[in-house]
Symmetry: C2
Subunit: 163 residues, 2 copies
DNA sequence: CATGCAAATGTTATAATGTTGCAAACTCTG
DNA sequence: CAGAGTTTGCAACATTATAACATTTGCATG
């Protein structure tokens, strides 16, 4: 799993996608999970932008390329990809984004730009720790954390490149 | 705004609700906001349990009591209540819960028990600080934070009172 | 290679959640 | 009480997600 460029900095995004796919194949192989063509294609579509994609956006793209797909096709692929930590669901957007830290143990923190729509996934142990501590103080047993921060990314704070 | 009992500890919930309504009336009066009968009734329905209520659950309750309501009725009331910080939307549940800290400046952190469904809202400055720091490190301008922790509340860890 | 099981996919329908647009009613203010 | 702005009623619709069941595929094993 290699380091990745920030979504809002120019980078070779094709390489970004290829890397994600290679990582995914490796992760699935290790766990005897079947990264079937549909699943892989869905993962690729999601990685093709740093903006989260809705399930029906994915469906539309599949349909556009001739794939005979229905909603369950997409939701099942997304369930699989989530299960293996290859994509995340962004609850506040009802959308999905590629996991930037697939294979690593992490609590994702998502910075969502309301202007350009890009999402940056961070892995911040000190945030995770603070949350865990607060939950423990209430004798609450944490299982999953949803942490989504909406705001403005560096680029959009300047009022520019609203792409 | 007074301290409130924890949802999973027995308490006089009628008083809990009355207090929330009194607080809400006071907050709206101060801001010249109109807490109309429908809005107030929706707030009360939401406060009547510590389990978040879906918009359509609220709608069903309104309908059951003879109110001539349609989805927009509920969503509009909920929008209003959110705007004045009287309820929160729990994105991971598509549901709404009464705000336990109405009127106070806060970043809500929600502890959601997957067994009993109760939600406890915490206000934890150190968590808020850690998140803000992590976002700042990416030059991201934070606007709103969604922080929802799913797990088991103290009562349900014992395998009991799953109501 | 046959065969049988489990996993994955196709297909149709439907459920659950949320929004738009417009007209009528209400509320406040002058 | 007239007019402006806000709130509500109402119908239709859009979006997101799941259920149920038939069919196909991958693959281990006899």
């Amino acid at each position: 799993m290699s380091a990745r460029a920030l979504p809002y900095r120019p980078h070779n995004h094709d390489a970004c996608v290829s890397q994600a796919l290679a990582d995914a194949r490796s992760i699935c192989r290790k766990q005897n999970a079947r990264l079937t063509p549909t699943r892989e294609r869905v993962l690729e579509l999601i990685w093709q932008s740093h903006k989260p994609l809705g399930a029906y956006d994915v469906l539309a793209k599949l349909t556009a390329e001739g794939h005979n797909a229905a909603p369950p096709t997409v939701y099942r692929a997304l369930d699989f990809l989530q299960q293996y930590g290859l994509v995340h669901r962004i609850a506040s957007l009802n959308a999905f984004t590629g996991c930037a830290h697939a294979g690593e143990q992490h609590t994702g923190m998502f910075l969502i730009c309301r202007a350009c729509g890009n999402v940056l996934e961070l892995m911040d142990p000190s945030v995770a720790r603070a949350i865990e501590t607060a939950a423990n103080a209430e004798t609450f047993r944490t299982e999953t954390i949803t942490l989504e921060v909406a705001g403005l990314c560096p680029g959009c704070q300047a009022g520019q490149h609203h792409e």
